[in-house]
């Protein structure tokens, strides 16, 4: 049963991923459409970050954010 679910979710997810790549192969998004998609992406990441315990998140979020930003800066720089 788990195999069927994993394969079905994988297939469906791939359709979500590859569909826009094929759809926008010949046509392109307008500048407004592109901005809207970007806003939607940022909103999705923000909504996902809501997970976990809110209190602990607020307690240590700022510190870890600062630390991870510094680490990312060091590695990417």
């Amino acid at each position: 049963m788990t195999w069927i679910v994993i394969l079905a979710v994988g297939l469906g997810s791939y359709v979500f991923r590859v569909g826009p790549q094929l759809l926008f192969e010949r046509t392109s998004l307008s500048a407004g459409g592109d901005r809207m998609i970007r806003h939607a992406g940022t909103a999705a990441l923000t909504a996902l970050a809501r997970g976990g315990s809110s209190l602990r998140l607020l307690a240590c979020g700022a510190g870890v954010y600062a630390l991870s930003t510094i680490v990312m800066g060091l590695f990417a720089g």
Binding site: V5, A8, Y14, Q21, A44
Partner: protein, 242 residues
């Protein structure tokens, strides 16, 4: 670089100046800190799969599904509500991938089809975030391609290894609340968006909506937050002259 044959050495040097000498290495190094944040989440999913008695299927999902929240929701929903509900829930959570892929499609217009079709399988929150940011400063298709593959394969490999460890450790991982690392990692990604007015509006509205819809069925609150954030961003764009 990709422009050598077409445009000569001068253009190549310019592309290297903008995109850096080794985009693949840059992609690997950009993804490594995020991978550290995601590894505990992979351990938890591996552990949940082991609890369900589906060790190999659970681990294989690390590459087949390539998305932690959807895979975890699917694994935990199978027993409670059956296979159809598990698939539906996971796909609802993964509906956001349409947004990420649409966003990257615009940056990837110069990419060959094999890359667009193959790399699409590796689109997920962190790979979208780093690829979108990289594409805004580097327009060379080959450099973008190498950067994305470096970043995405680093994430996929580390993710898969961590999930395998979670499968082997089983219930021992569940006793430690490690999932806190993922929201923190996502906060680090969206944090840079707070610098702009429209980014702030989108993030605040999406966060508030996500909190208000926390009790909604799996995935629907996420979509509501995406819709609300998106609407506010568009409204902000219309009010602000560019």
């Amino acid at each position: 670089m990709g422009l050598v044959a077409d445009c000569g050495t001068e253009t190549t040097v310019r592309a290297e100046e903008v995109c850096g000498p080794s985009p693949a290495r840059q992609g690997v190094l950009t993804m490594l800190p995020m991978l550290v944040g995601y590894m505990p989440f992979a351990l938890v999913i591996g552990s949940a799969a082991a609890d369900e008695g589906a060790r190999f299927a659970g681990w294989a999902g690390s590459w087949i599904v390539f998305g932690g929240s959807a895979q975890l929701a699917a694994i935990r929903t199978i027993d409670q509500a059956g296979a159809v509900a598990a698939i539906f829930t996971a796909l609802l959570i993964h509906a956001r991938l349409v947004v990420y892929s649409s966003s990257l499609a615009r940056s990837w217009t110069g990419q060959p089809r094999w890359f667009r079709v193959g790399a699409a399988a590796l689109i997920i929150d962190p790979t979208w975030a780093v690829a979108d940011r990289h594409a805004s400063s580097c327009t060379d298709p080959r450099a973008q391609r190498r950067f994305f593959l470096g970043a995405a394969l680093t994430l996929g490999t580390g993710w898969s290894i961590a999930m395998a460890v979670g499968v082997l450790l089983g219930a021992r991982v569940e006793s430690v609340d490690l999932q806190i690392a993922v929201p923190l990692c996502l906060m680090a990604i969206v944090g840079s968006g707070l610098r702009t007015g429209d980014g702030r509006a989108v993030i605040v509205v999406a966060a508030v909506t996500a909190f208000l819809t926390a009790g909604w069925p799996s995935g629907t609150g996420l979509l509501a937050a995406v819709a609300a954030g998106c609407a506010v961003g568009v409204a902000h764009d219309r009010r602000t002259p560019r």
